[in-house]
Amino acid sequence: MQVPAALEYERASDVDHALNLLGRYGDTAKILAGGHSLLPMMKLRLATPEYLIDINDLHDELGYIRIDPTEARIGAMTRHRELLESDELGRMFPIFADAERVIADPVVRNRGTIGGSLCQADPSEDLSAVCTTLAASCVIRGPGGDRVVAMDEFHQGPYETAVGDDELLIELRIPVHPNGSSAYEKVERRAGDWAVVSAGAAVWLEDGVLSDARVGLAAVGPNTNGITAVSEACRGQAPSEELFARAGELAAQHCEPSTDQRGSADYKRHLAKELTVRTLRQAVRRIVERN
């Protein structure tokens, strides 16, 4: 049995209470949401917080998926399983269901939350790649009120985020544009392992050409990253296998994989290309099939 270091535990009853506790304990505290990353780190004593603030009672307040014509809003305590099972979200952004199907296992999905996933800031984390792909923005609440941070600025290196010691991520906002779709694909050595590489793609079609296209990659850099070169190359072009192939090449060029137990840098670069092609193709196919 792996035993964590001693700690104090407190259960927050609402967002204000949680912020209050954060204000009091600052960087000696950690927020406990699903706990599937934090608790293993504590057992290995890689994380040794003095205080643990459990926000699972905030699920009523922060567990929601609301979609209106211009924006989707997802509460930070929304659990993986709820994201997977939301038909409305699945219709609007099929990338979520694609990703959720390959995130760990049902036990983890029953507990893990979107806010916890993003705040962990693991470079291979799936929902971070999804939010990067969808150009989400993050609503962070602190003592001075709410501030909104774009996904590109939310992660500030491996395991580092823009969330201050006295702040809490409370919501993700995803812009809704007409006639779009999305897809996600991951290669892993085994179910539940971190991604070797994964890719998300989102595309929007207007009069037969791509009005916009976005690709987000995980596990090929210090954080999940959006490949702007792909967006630039795709905008205004009609979707085609040639275009997808070019996008794949660009994705491979614009990532920074490193060799580790999951695979060689060369292989990961190859996957960046392959998965970019596949997800772009799938996202476009979904629009065509829907229409």
């Binding site: 049995m1 001693a6 293993p40 057992k43 050595r189 085994r190 971190w194 137990q261 060689s264 292989y267």
Partner: protein, 797 residues
């Protein structure tokens, strides 16, 4: 004689209550497991029990400059902090391994692998004990580690075992088997010779339950009770007596429910010894339980063989000879668990299932700065490596000759009339009939159709492979004239007592770790005595309660203790017959045995049941002249030979052309383990072993970086397959009984682990043939498969 599966569909039936031994029956032990009533070492709670935690080396190779324990000792609720120096004062800093080497209990001079034991703390609870470890200040002087096994024998290599007087290199032993000269002659005349460098990477047994112990030393009567995660309680007791100088009759080892062993719980680990020392020092019971990382980084690994394989054949496809040189990485201490005359275990069966003219193996074993071990790990003493080598080489030869993998094997199998067969390396295969087993696997697979499907898929650019392997195992160690562990012969005792009411208790020296002994052994006795299995209690895992024997590993329980259980039952039956003759007033010659009763020949109405006889044996009525009361017997079974199960495995894989991800689509396993006692338990063993094989073939490996850091120290890093990575297993069987085993059973625990990795690798290589790939090493992760597809396969180390 070989019988193949009967046509009727075998259904599950609960024969718990029938006076019939063999057949499907629910496991007697499962109700307590499914209700959470199993009792493992970590469930043992004793009054006043303290907890022990071990400080481990963060470095692979470093001199210990100083150890300061003062801050840890000052922590409230800490009872003792013990270092290597303190153990050295008691002469306990080093202990013997199972291979006549020594291993440090707590490091004194230097640390030799990351994770090595340096000091321990005893405290009121495991949290305090763990906290105190962080307060121990050890100063290390780092040394260059020996991590690359291929460079371990270089002159410039640092010497891992410089504490051994006169030791100036990392060499442990050289070993050879077969005939080098004869083999060279055959190779020289052969039309076709194929060679390949093959690595079987280091893997770990990774049982669900980690290792641990509760030591309780009673200073008044000098008795030590040790609850311990051991597969061999009796052997451990003797070794503790020899090492610690405690009288053997004052030591009681209890191995309660064990959550998986796979060979990893055969050795004695420093933690067990530390627990005993801690109880002696504190005068209180002390519990030590490893965490997962400690288990993965410090307890016995398996495999780690770097092999050069060569195979010679005629151009018509007659296999003539096999030759290999092996470089074996044994880590920092030689802790191989194998009979002492077999430093490479039973690797000598690398000649496989084929009729060869010659064979030869040479091996060098070396020290490196990695964890010690080289345990069985579901390999029947290195047969996993041997079978992998020969089965890769035979498929490699098929590839070279352009013939079908299955056909090449069929053409070269030993014939039934050649058994008992002495191999070119001296192993005597007891019985075998290989072709029906192979044909059956091909029939279940629809082999010809699969080959057609593969052809069509290749034309469409899809990547599909079919892999075949055929293994002959050597299990049930073993004859005491040849096989011992540190001088203890590998025989096993068994006691059987029939109570007055006809219920029975059978006491075994082997120890279950999940194999279902409480059911299988009850069934063996039931078959012999005609008592329902439900009426037979199986006792094991407690040295005070059971006769001496060497324990469970190397698939030896059924071949050795299973034979003992059958023979002890027959001894009881012989006595029962004498009593029956008195009860029925007929001569012994006129009695017939009908399962569960003796009856008068020609007059079956006149009979007495085994229960009637048991009551008479204990009752007040007369017994025949010279017969003592009671109905019990004891035996110690010394097997005359090993048993040699075999099997044919076929694997079908699909590989994603874009991502190189391998999916095992189908797996067909036809096993022949001789007489089948409980088919459900056999299938469970096979399913587990096959899953294990998928793990080794596709994902498992204990890797190190060049500084000696273990990269597989958690189950996030050391991957074990899940239900999602494995197909629905398709199993079948043939039955070729062992001629020398009393009930013809052969053992099956490790067959699937031995046979499945080559089938999977052969399937992947078969799939990649259009890419010009001839070999790629395990683990075949997507990245490594992609490298092979790109024409650049890399060894894993």
């Amino acid at each position: 004689m070989t019988t193949t599966e009967p046509k009727r569909t075998e259904r599950f039936e609960d024969n718990d209550q029938k006076p019939v031994g063999y057949g499907r029956m629910l496991r007697k032990e499962d109700p307590r497991f499914v209700r959470g009533k199993g009792r493992y070492v970590d469930d043992v709670q004793l009054p006043g029990m303290l907890h022990l935690a071990i400080l481990r080396s963060p470095m692979a190779h470093a001199r210990i400059v100083s150890v300061d324990t003062s801050a840890a000792e000052a922590l409230p609720h800490v009872h003792a902090v013990v270092t290597g120096t303190m153990l050295a004062d008691k002469g306990l800093a080093w202990m013997p391994t199972l291979s006549n080497d020594v291993q440090s209990v707590l490091a004194t001079d230097k640390v030799r692998f990351q994770g090595q034991e340096v000091a321990f703390v005893v405290a009121d609870d495991r949290y305090t004990a763990r906290d105190a470890l962080e307060l121990i200040d050890v100063e290390y002087d780092p040394l260059d580690p020996v991590m690359d096994v291929r460079k371990a024998l270089d002159e410039a290599a640092p010497v891992v075992r410089d504490e051994i007087e006169g030791k100036t290199d990392n060499h442990i032993f050289d070993w050879e088997t077969g005939d080098a000269g004869a083999t060279e002659k055959v190779f020289a005349k052969a039309d076709v010779v194929v060679s390949e460098d093959i690595v079987y990477p280091r893997v770990h047994p990774a049982p669900m339950e980690t290792c641990g112990a509760v030591a309780d030393y009673d200073a008044v009567d000098g008795r030590l009770t040790l609850w311990s995660t051991t597969q061999a309680p009796h052997a451990h007791r003797t070794l503790y007596a020899l090492v610690a100088g405690l009288p053997e009759h004052k030591i009681r080892i209890i191995s309660p429910d064990i959550g998986g062993g796979f060979g990893g719980k055969v050795p004695i680990y420093p933690g067990y010894v530390c627990s005993i020392v801690a109880s002696l020092v504190t005068g209180k019971p002390v519990k030590w339980m490893e965490d997962r990382s400690e288990n993965l980084t410090s307890t016995g690994f398996a495999r780690d063989y770097v092999m050069r394989g060569e195979i010679a054949a005629t151009k018509e496809g007659k296999i003539l000879a096999i030759r290999t040189h092996v470089l074996a990485d044994h880590g920092a201490f030689n802790g191989v668990a194998a009979p002492v005359k077999y430093p490479a275990g039973f690797f000598g069966v690398f000649t496989g299932s084929y009729d060869l003219e010659a064979a030869y193996c040479s091996m060098s074993a070396v020290y490196t700065n990695k964890a010690p071990g080289g345990v069985a790990y579901a390999c029947s003493f290195r047969i996993t490596e041997a079978v992998y080598l020969v089965e890769r080489m035979v498929s490699r030869l098929a590839d070279e000759l352009g013939v079908d993998q299955a056909q090449l094997r069929l053409d070269n199998f030993l014939r039934p009339d050649q058994f008992p067969y002495t191999t070119k390396t001296g192993w005597v295969y007891d019985s075998g009939n290989y072709e029906p087993t192979m044909r059956k696997a091909m029939e279940i697979a629809g082999y010809e159709q699969l080959r057609r499907e593969q052809e069509q898929k290749r034309a469409r650019g899809e990547i599909m492979g079919i892999g075949v392997s055929f293994f002959t195992e050597a299990v049930g160690a073993g004859p005491r004239k040849d096989m011992d562990i540190l001088g203890l012969g590998m025989a096993d005792g068994c006691e059987l007592r029939v109570h007055p009411t006809g219920k029975a208790v059978v006491r075994l020296s082997v120890q279950t770790q999940g194999q279902g002994h409480e059911t299988t052994f009850a069934q063996i006795v039931a078959e012999e005595l005609g008592i329902p299995p439900a009426d037979i209690d199986v006792v094991h895992g407690d040295t005070d309660q059971t006769p001496f024997g060497l324990g469970t590993y190397g698939s030896r329980s059924t071949p050795v203790s299973g034979a003992a259980a059958a023979l002890v039952s027959r001894k009881v039956r012989d006595k029962a017959k004498l009593i029956a003759s008195g009860m029925l007033e007929v001569s012994i010659a006129d009695l017939e045995w009908e399962k569960g009763r003796f009856q008068v020949a020609g007059d079956p109405e006149q009979s007495v049941t085994i229960q009637d006889i048991a009551m008479r044996a204990h009752g007040a009525g007369d017994l025949p002249e010279g017969i003592e009361g009671g109905l019990e017997a004891q035996i110690c079974y010394n097997p005359e030979n090993l048993t040699y199960p075999h099997g044919a495995y076929i694997c079908v894989v699909d590989i994603d052309p874009g991502t190189a991800h391998v999916t095992v689509r189908r797996f067909i396993a036809v096993d022949d383990c001789g007489t089948r006692i409980n088919p459900m338990i056999i299938e469970g063993q096979v399913h587990g072993g096959l899953t294990d094989g998928v793990g080794m073939a596709l994902m498992e490996m204990i890797a190190f970086d060049s500084d000696g850091n273990c990269l597989g120290g958690s189950l996030m890093d050391y991957l074990i397959p899940t239900a999602l990575e494995v197909p629905d297993w398709e199993t079948g069987y043939t039955v070729t009984p062992s001629p020398h085993h009393p009930i013809g059973a052969k053992g099956v625990g490790e067959s699937a682990t031995v046979g499945s990795p080559p089938a999977i690798v052969n399937a992947v290589i078969d799939a990649l043939r259009p890419f010009g790939v001839h070999h790629a090493d395990m683990p075949l992760t997507p990245s490594r498969v992609w490298e092979a597809m790109c024409g650049n396969p890399q060894p894993p180390i």
